[in-house]
C-alpha cells in the first residue's frame, strides 16, 4: 500500500466523522445510551484525536521515527489514563461542544499529515512498530487506526440517530444529499 493510498482512505473517514461531529446537538454532550457507554462529548473527543495524536505518540517513542518528526510544539491534549487497561465509561476525556470537537479533529488531521510526511514508503510498509509480540508494520498499525475511527464514527452515527437526528447512510459516509 502506498502512503498516498492510505492517506486517501483515512481522509475519507476523517471527513465523514467531521461531518457527523458538526451534527451533534450541543445540549446533549452528557447524553449516552446507557451508563455503560461513553457520553456523546467523550465519544466526539475520542474520535477527534485518534489518528494524528496516536501517530505522534507512537513516533515519539521510537528513536528511528522521533528523529524525523517535525519540531512542532503541539498543544497538549487531554488523554485518559491507559495504565490499567482501557478506561471505564466515566473516565474518558470529553468535549463540551461540537465546535470544540471540530477544532480538535482539524488539528489532529494536520498533526497526522505533519508526522506522516517524513515517513518513507519502505518504512511505512516494512518497518515494525510496537513492542514484544505485538510488532507489525506501521501500515497495519495505521490501518487499524483508520478502522478504529471508522468504528467510532458508526457509534457517533448511532448516537445521533438515537437522539432523533434525521440522518441516513449518506451522512455516515460523509456524502449527504444536497
Amino acid at each position: 500500500m502506498t502512503k498516498k493510498e492510505y492517506t486517501e482512505f483515512a481522509e475519507s473517514i476523517v471527513k465523514a466523522t467531521r461531518w457527523l461531529i458538526g451534527l451533534a446537538p450541543e445540549d446533549k454532550m452528557d447524553w449516552r445510551p446507557d451508563e455503560t457507554f461513553m457520553t456523546l462529548g467523550a465519544l466526539v473527543c475520542h474520535s477527534a484525536q485518534s489518528l494524528g495524536e496516536n501517530l505522534r505518540g507512537m513516533m515519539s517513542r521510537d528513536p528511528h521515527y522521533s528523529e524525523m518528526m517535525p519540531k512542532t510544539e503541539w498543544p497538549a491534549v487531554a488523554t485518559p489514563d491507559f495504565s490499567k487497561g482501557l478506561p471505564g465509561p466515566d473516565e474518558w476525556c470529553a468535549v463540551s461542544s461540537p465546535s470544540e470537537g471540530l477544532e480538535m479533529i482539524d488539528a489532529d488531521w494536520e498533526k497526522f499529515k505533519a508526522c506522516f510526511e517524513p515517513v518513507g514508503e519502505d518504512d511505512f510498509n516494512n518497518r515494525l512498530v510496537g513492542s514484544g509480540e505485538e510488532r507489525h508494520p506501521l501500515r497495519d498499525h495505521l490501518l487499524f487506526l483508520a478502522d478504529h475511527l471508522s468504528a467510532h464514527r458508526t457509534q457517533l452515527f448511532m448516537y445521533l440517530r438515537l437522539l432523533g437526528r434525521k440522518i441516513n447512510t449518506l451522512d455516515l459516509y460523509g456524502m449527504p444529499k444536497k
Binding site: 500500500m1 502506498t2 482512505f9 497495519d140
Partner: protein, 170 residues
Amino acid sequence: MTKQEYTQFAKGIVNATRGLIERAPDGKMDWRPDESFMTLGSVIHHVSDPVGDALRRILENDWPEGSDGLPPADAFPSVAEAKAGIERLDKDWAEFESRFEKLSEDDFNGKMVQPPWMPAPMPLRDYMLMCAEHLSNHRMQLFTYLRLLGEKVHTGHLYGMADTNSLEVA
C-alpha cells in the same frame, strides 16, 4: 496495496464480526433500538455477505433492485438465528478467497469499477476497501446492539481480541 495486504485487513474485520455474531442471543432477532433501525437479525444478515458477494456483484455487474438508493429499515432480510449468520459469513469468505485468487495485482489496483450508488468509477481496490469499511461500520452497529441488550462484550470483542485481558474494562 497488495492483495495479501487487503486480505489480511479484511479478514481481521470479518473474524471479529464472526465473534460478535456468535454472541447474539437467538431470542432477540426481532429486537432493535427503535423502529428506524434494522432488527438484530437484519444486521446479522446484512453483515454476513460482506466481501465475497460484493466482489461477485461488482465483477458480474449483478445488483439487486434498488441498489442505487437507501432501502428503509424494514426492507432488509433477516436471519432467524445467529447460526445462520455464521454459515452465511463463512460461505461468503470462501467465495471471496476463490474469486480474489483469480485476480491479478494489476486487476486489484487498476481495474476501474462503478457500483450503482457511486457517482464515478473507482479502482477495484478502493471498492473493496469500501466493502471492508462498510463491514466495520455494521460490526460496530452489531456491537452496540449487543451492549444495549446487556451482553457482556467489550472492546476486545469488537476487534476480535477478546482474550486480551487489558481490554476488558471498557
